[in-house]
């Protein structure tokens, strides 16, 4: 029994989020597989404990507790939606577990027990609009911020709105629009966008539309004949996997901002893709950004455990700070002391083969910012988990660090 190291996999395999999360479960299984082929970790085999929180947020907390208390896992890879993360957070802090969260999110958080390997807003949203406003991006002057009505889009759009205003975009040139989860009838909104875009200034849509709502949205765009050259749409939640469910013919040229695209040209990436398709047994399965985030997180953890020579959470955590690992796009990912990664930001254009063609990327990696500088309350906050601060939300003005959960 003691010759295995258990790690937890906490992704929904049923319910609304299964569409996105199942892939990440498989990714972890693949990585564990490989690690064991390489002889495991600290001379022990890795054993993945898979559970299904079923897209039910309280169930996430229950399962997290079970993984930590009953299965005594050394680390957990899981969660997609922010609400699921919020739900398990107290559990991880109470039981001093270690969670790797692989999805882009709204930021405004840094927990001692969580490593955020997905993008913070400044690693996705901000560069994306920078690109749109650039000469090359079509020097966009008018913005539609369309999102699903929940925290991630709300926050991201709040940040973007502030950012755009700071950049001198007049308020009347920013249209903000929210839709319910799984919204499927986009006729009105798309035609509004069309109208908004026909007012003389170059217009673009920044989409934080989540999950299932995207397919009908893009289909409607296609049907109402909004070509990317007229009104480009840049999305933060649409990756290769989402596209695999759409006929991308009409969408060529629309954009997405991520830290990874399957089309990235690098040997590690080719290798990763081959391994993945072999593991899943299908040439058609794609890779995407959260998978890379999982990949980085997993390997950083492995590296840290080897360095620490134990899976003891506190010791591994100390090793995690500043640890580096090659990402899949040919650069190096760094785990910063705020538990967010340094990653490059890429802009891709949708191709008719369902892939993204990288049309722009930041020259070097961007450091994930837990607390955005574009919201009054959070610009004074910094996260740093090394002494002397060792705090997730240190207020540089008051010099205080308000309530931590442990």
């Amino acid at each position: 029994q003691d010759d295995t190291i258990k790690i937890g996999v906490l992704h929904s395999l049923s319910g609304t989020m299964a569409i996105s999360e199942t892939t990440l479960k498989d990714t972890v299984l693949m990585l564990v597989d490989e690690q064991n082929k390489k002889g495991g970790l600290l001379g022990k085999k890795l054993e993945a404990v898979v559970v299904d929180p079923a897209s039910d947020w309280p169930l996430f907390a229950e399962k997290a507790r079970e993984l930590l208390e009953v299965n005594k896992v050394a680390a957990v890879f899981g969660c997609w939606t922010s609400v699921s993360r919020k739900s398990v957070l107290p559990v991880f802090e109470e039981l001093n577990g270690m969670l790797f969260y692989p999805v882009q999110y709204e930021g405004e958080e840094s927990s001692k027990n969580v490593f955020y390997t997905g993008a913070a807003p400044n690693q996705q949203a901000i560069p994306a609009v920078d690109y749109l406003m650039s000469e090359e991006g079509g020097s966009v002057k008018r913005f539609v911020l369309a999102g699903t009505d929940y925290v991630y889009p709300r926050t991201t759009n709040k940040i973007l709105e502030q950012y755009l205003l700071d950049k001198g975009i007049p308020a009347e040139d920013i249209m903000i629009n929210y839709t319910p989860f799984g919204h499927s009838d986009w006729q009105t909104i798309v035609s509004d966008i069309k109208a908004f875009g026909s007012a003389g200034k170059k217009t673009a849509v920044v989409s934080t539309i989540n999950g299932d709502a995207n397919v009908p949205f893009y289909k409607e765009l296609g049907n109402q004949g909004i070509a990317s050259s007229d009104i480009p749409v840049v999305a933060f939640s649409v990756g290769e996997e989402e596209l695999s469910g759409i006929d991308t013919g009409p969408l060529v040229g629309h954009l997405a901002a991520w830290n990874y695209f399957m089309s990235a040209e690098s040997p590690v990436n080719d290798e990763f893709i081959e391994k993945w398709q072999a593991f899943i047994g299908s040439e058609d399965r794609v890779t995407n950004d959260p998978m890379e985030a999982t990949y980085i997180g997993f390997n950083m953890w492995v590296k840290a455990v080897e360095a620490a020579g134990t899976t003891d959470v506190d010791m591994v955590r100390d090793e995690m700070n500043g640890i580096t690992y090659p990402n899949l796009t040919g650069g190096i990912a760094v785990m910063n002391t705020n538990h967010h990664l340094t990653k490059p930001v890429l802009i891709g254009e949708i191709q008719d083969d369902g892939q993204f063609q990288i049309v722009w990327s930041t020259p070097k990696g961007v450091i994930g910012d837990a607390w955005t500088d574009f919201l009054p309350e959070s610009k004074n906050l910094v996260a740093d988990w090394t002494a002397p601060i060792s705090c997730g939300n240190f207020n540089i003005t008051t010099g205080k660090c308000s309530g931590q959960n442990y």
Binding site: G137, G138, S198, V215, G245
Partner: protein, 544 residues
């Protein structure tokens, strides 16, 4: 003045070439030399899009006959650089079944190439814009009037100085009025951006009252201009008058949106109107029947990848049969045992729905499946710039009406329909009248499920085809059926349309979320007024 040899009339591309060279005489650009052309072509393979854009302009100006072909290929993403052969620029062409690389300069066949040998020459949105304009100009002389109109519109959309003389020339020799009109507009647009003061004002006059969004763009730009105050004023006036016209069409558009949403709701719900409305089975698995219909569409498309255009005509009957049979199987194996215990059907069908969801998840993976929209269903019919009706919605409305009428006919006109209603109203007595209740039950449930399957085919054209499809529609379906009045098909129809239209008229005011909330509140209040739904059955008959 330009004589077009009859022998060439049939060959628009060449005509376009002539046009091209003609353009360059006009521009009296420096006489182009072949090597410049080659360097420009080479530049297309550069990393930076700015360089590529230069290259495109150079090609346009080069006056070389090969330019058009190259640029169109570039626009359609069919231009490659050959990794194996020091990155010469090539087309890829099927030559007796094998892909061959063709040098764009020499037109020489560089032999077969493998999948990875060629690297696509990429473009971005900005470049697309530029290409559109350039090609637009080059196509002004196409033989086909529609192409010419398209070309004119393209010029209008991105007015670039070079195009002006071309347009002027084209106008002079244009016979077709429609095309002439388009060209005039294009010219106006060009003048508005490049002409002198009064030319601009004239242009505004010309453009005002147009219902073409591109024109609004142009005017918008002019309106935003500080430099020339009265021009700006004129442009704003023009836009204002256009706004008025627009508002009318917007109303029509909203109505259309509402009706089409209603049609979707109806297609989603009408199957339930049978299984629940007529049979009284609280059918929680209805959503999964929709889902099966959608997946059937997907499978059909997989089976006939080369005939996607016709796939739906196969999918509809296929979906009806597949889901119909599943329905019959469920009825015979489970529901059959639950008549007279309607509430137990809730539990059983809920179990079935979980089962079916997991089944597709295990068979097709939890991911959404891509269902292609046939060309004849994509795109839209533009009444004008302010009002355009998307084809898929139009067809779905029509389809929905057909399905509804067919169903109505079955229930009201056929013996089976009568037996269905008899059985569900008094099973025991129906049996004593010689009606094979078991068979009728199975057929009824099968029919309801089959219709749901057909609904699923329609949904596959609008939304995700994934394991959650059913869950996404089950609640709305029940709302529609109950709101309309259980057991009344017309009620279901009117209910669906009412909810659809109400929703769409509220959305612009309140936003999508609040609109949906208001619709729900409306349903609650409405049921207070009419506790048995929109088309309530009244009288003794109901109580007994």
């Amino acid at each position: 003045m330009l004589r077009i040899p009859v022998s060439l009339r049939a060959r628009p591309v060449i005509l376009a070439f002539l046009a091209l060279s003609f353009l360059l005489d006009l521009l009296s650009a420096t006489p182009s030399r072949a090597d410049d052309f080659e360097t420009s072509v080479a530049k297309l393979n550069d990393q930076s899009f700015t360089v590529k854009e230069e290259a495109v302009l150079e090609l346009v100006q080069s006056g070389d006959d090969r330019a058009l072909a190259i640029l169109s290929a570039l626009q359609d993403g069919e231009l490659f650089s050959h990794k194996k052969q020091n990155n010469v620029i090539v087309f890829s062409q099927e030559i007796d079944g094998a892909p061959h690389a063709i040098d764009v300069l020499t037109a020489a066949d560089l032999g077969e190439h493998g999948k990875r040998d060629l690297k696509k020459i990429t473009i971005n949105n900005k470049l697309r814009g530029a290409l559109k304009a350039a090609l637009g100009a080059l196509r002004l002389y196409s033989k086909d009037p529609d192409t010419r109109i398209a070309a004119a519109k393209a010029v209008l959309a991105n007015p670039s100085p070079e195009a002006l003389p071309l347009v002027v020339e084209a106008i002079e020799k244009e016979q077709d009025d429609a095309v002439r009109e388009a060209l005039d507009m294009a010219q106006a647009a060009l003048l508005l951006t490049n002409g002198d003061a009064e030319e601009r004002l004239a242009a505004v006059g010309m453009l005002s009252g147009s219902m073409d969004p591109d024109v609004w763009q142009v005017l918008g730009r002019a309106a935003g201009q500080e430099a020339d105050a009265d021009l700006a004023a004129a442009a704003q006036a023009a836009l204002a008058s256009i706004e008025n016209q627009k508002s009318v069409y917007n109303l029509l558009e909203t109505l259309f949106f509402g009706v089409s949403l209603g049609a979707v709701l109806l297609l989603a719900a009408v199957g339930l109107a049978i299984t629940f409305g007529v049979m009284g089975v609280i059918n929680m698995a209805h959503g999964e029947m929709l889902m099966l219909g959608a997946y059937t569409t997907f499978v059909v498309q997989q089976l006939m990848p080369n005939a996607i255009e016709y796939s739906l005509f196969v999918a509809v009957p296929a979906a009806f049969i597949v889901t119909g049979l599943v329905g019959i199987a469920i009825e015979r194996s489970i529901i059959r045992l639950l008549y007279g215990r309607p509430l137990e059907t809730l539990l059983a069908t809920f179990g079935i729905s979980l089962f079916l969801q997991q089944a597709v998840r295990s068979i097709f993976s939890p991911l959404n499946q891509p269902v292609t929209t046939p060309d004849w269903m994509s795109g839209f019919y533009a009444v004008n710039g302010a009002l355009s009706l998307t084809y898929n919605r139009l067809y779905i409305i029509v389809f929905c009406i057909l399905v509804f009428l067919a169903l109505l006919a079955v229930l009201k006109r056929t013996p089976l329909g009568l037996q269905m209603r008899a059985v569900t109203q008094n099973r025991a007595m129906a049996s004593s009248m010689g009606i094979r209740t078991g068979r009728v039950d199975a057929l009824t449930f099968g029919l309801g499920s089959g219709i749901a399957g057909i609904g699923g085919v329609a949904l596959s054209q609008l939304t995700n085809v994934g394991p959650n499809l059913g869950q996404a529609y089950i609640v709305d379906s029940f709302m529609v059926v109950v709101f309309g009045g259980v057991g009344n098909l017309w009620g279901t129809l009117v209910g669906a349309l009412t909810l659809g239209v109400a929703n769409k008229f509220m959305e612009p005011w309140t936003g999508a979320v609040v609109a949906k909330i208001l619709v729900l509140v409306f349903i609650i209040l409405f049921i207070q007024r009419r506790p048995r739904g929109l088309f309530a059955l009244k009288g003794r008959a109901v109580e007994s």
